[in-house]
């Protein structure tokens, strides 16, 4: 370390921070990776899964050594009413192809592994340190302050998560807005490996990911998720915070009610809840993007709001890895020039614009608005379940032609009009 100063201090040992630390350390830069928890990963949780494309660019075949749970080869989308559900299931080994695969993960182990890779590459990991403030030299960030301790560096990468207190301290972002974030809540439910595989009809090491839309969030825009891990299930709910406040729904109760939904209960029966966790999810994409850099500082991962929810795909960790790696690239470019001013670090924005991060968020930028449609959570799941229920029910009554049956349901509560309207909006957003 030259002049008692690191080349880069990275705050947060999530995928963004560890990917940045790994990329910088393996190129010989002096890196400190700072974590407030007592070990890397211990403050992190997910209600999603890891899409591998970005991490495999950095660590090819990482799944051979990383503590991943199951390779997802079964995708399910479930429209839920109070008592019933219509579920679409896609089984396809092609989902597991190397170029496109995704894994369910549990973050305590996974994040600790990735931070360990950064450490192996030469990064210094400092745990149990809460960063309280930034150090400034003129208009440039030049380090961090934790309690009475001051640590200096050419650049700080804030990968400190959705609540990013550092991005706020640097004036790069205002307060989070309730309409821009969702609260995700999860129970991890332990079950023997064989039972997980039998209940979801899975081959060894393959997994299922099921997303729920409808009654589980009690009318609040959001959804449910059920992922298979090796020897557990991850079950939980996500609520848009602004809508949640208006609806007055109790999160702690709703998430427990979900376990006892007739469609869910058989999957989790006999399981033992081993952990209960919660986290905010940035869901507004580019609409909530902070200023991504200032002199001596970059913002990556959840701290930058890099999450994409299309309703059927939820991505965050792959964006975190890419943005962390690109932040590292920007730091290297600045080091080469010997200039860490905002004028040089703005190259980070260019890198992001050329990457999938901005491309994907830009493509789906109208989706957050689509997902606020209340009918998605009430009218449409009810329509699907009711039509199919009437179709399959045999009571010995005089028969009703299918076309008539469908139209009878569609004519209820202006459902047809709502459906056409939302489909049109969906077609334009997706």
């Amino acid at each position: 370390m030259s002049d008692d100063k690191f080349d880069c201090i990275i705050v947060g040992t999530g995928p963004a921070g560890s990917a940045a630390a790994y990329e910088l350390a393996r190129r010989g830069l002096e890196v400190a990776l700072v974590e407030k928890g007592d070990r890397p990963g211990c403050k992190n949780m997910t209600g999603g899964r890891l899409y591998c494309h970005s991490l495999r660019q950095i660590i090819p075949d990482f799944w051979e050594e990383a503590p991943v749970e199951r390779r997802v080869e079964k995708e399910e989308l479930c429209f839920l009413t109070e008592r019933g559900a219509v579920t679409l299931t896609l089984d396809n080994e092609a989902l597991g192809e190397e170029s496109a695969r995704s894994y369910t993960v549990l973050r305590a182990d996974f994040d600790a592994w990735l931070a360990g890779k950064a450490e192996e590459a030469g990064a210094m990991i400092v745990t149990g340190i809460r960063v309280d403030d930034l150090l400034w030299s003129g208009d440039r960030v030049c380090g961090i302050k934790a309690g009475e301790d001051e640590i200096f560096s050419d650049v700080v990468i804030a990968a400190d998560g959705v609540n990013s207190l550092l991005a706020r301290k640097a004036g790069l972002r205002g307060e989070l807005r309730p309409e821009h974030v969702a609260v995700g809540v999860k129970s991890v439910i332990a079950l023997p490996k064989k039972i997980v595989e039998d209940r979801f009809c899975l081959r060894e090491n393959t997994g299922a990911a099921r997303l729920f839309v409808g009654a589980c969030t009690k009318g609040v825009p959001g959804g449910g998720f059920l992922y298979t891990n090796k020897e557990s299930l991850s079950l939980g709910l996500v609520f848009n915070v602004a809508s949640l406040v208006k609806a007055g729904v109790s999160v702690a109760e709703a998430v427990e009610d979900f376990k006892f939904h007739p469609v869910i209960q058989p999957f989790v029966e006999g399981g033992e809840v081993v952990e209960y966790s919660a986290h905010l999810v940035p869901e507004a994409g580019l609409a909530m993007k902070p200023v991504l850099f200032t002199g001596g500082m970059l913002v990556a991962g959840d701290a930058a709001g890099f999450v994409l929810n299309t309703g059927y795909i939820v991505r965050g960790m792959d964006f975190a890895v890419t943005s962390g790696a690109l932040a590292a690239r920007a730091v290297m470019a600045a080091k080469e020039k010997g200039d860490f001013s905002a004028a040089t670090l703005k190259i980070y924005g260019d890198f992001l614009r050329q990457s999938h991060v901005f491309r994907d968020l830009e493509t789906y930028k109208n989706v957050p608005d689509l997902l606020e449609e209340p009918d998605l959570y009430t009218t449409f799941p009810t329509l699907a379940v009711d039509i199919l229920t009437d179709l399959f029910k045999v009571k010995g009554d005089p028969p009703e032609r299918v076309r008539k049956l469908v139209m009878r349901h569609l004519n209820r509560k202006k459902s047809f009009l709502k459906l056409v309207k939302t489909c049109w909006k969906g077609a334009r957003s997706l």
Binding site: K36, G37, D38, R39, G41, C42, K43, N44, M45, T46, L106, R107, A108, D109, F110, D111, T127, G128, I129, R130, A146, G147, V162, N163, L165, E175, L176, R177, P178, V181, V183, V185, S187, V188, S232, V241, L244, V245, G248, V249, S250, V251, A252, V255, E256, K259, F260, Q265, V268, E269, G270, G271, V273, V274, E275, Y276, S277, A278, H279, L280
Partner: protein
């Protein structure tokens, strides 16, 4: 499968309690608040209205930040617990 109270669920987690609370509430503002979103948005149900006052216990906090974002009165002053304190997820 047994229904678990939120206290049952929190008891499954690993916490290192920081005696110094990491969240401070301006209770005077709470008294003027009609909706009191904190009482239902907190996944750990740590906020309760007892008729006169908001009661809040930082032990059991999952550190999600929802209360801070949901509070319409900006009465929640929120930080993470000091280093190595608070929730420590074993699964995540």
């Amino acid at each position: 499968m047994k229904r678990l109270s939120v206290q049952d669920r929190l008891a499954l987690n690993k916490f290192q309690l920081d005696e110094e609370p990491h969240i401070a509430i301006n209770k005077a503002l709470c008294r003027q608040c009609a909706e009191k979103p904190c009482t239902f948005v907190c996944p750990a149900a740590l906020y309760a209205w007892n008729g006169d006052d908001i009661s809040f216990d930082h032990a059991g906090c999952l550190e999600c930040g929802t209360c801070r974002v949901a509070c319409t009165k900006k009465a929640v002053s929120w930080n993470y617990p000091r280093g190595a304190f608070g929730i420590s997820f074993r699964y995540g």
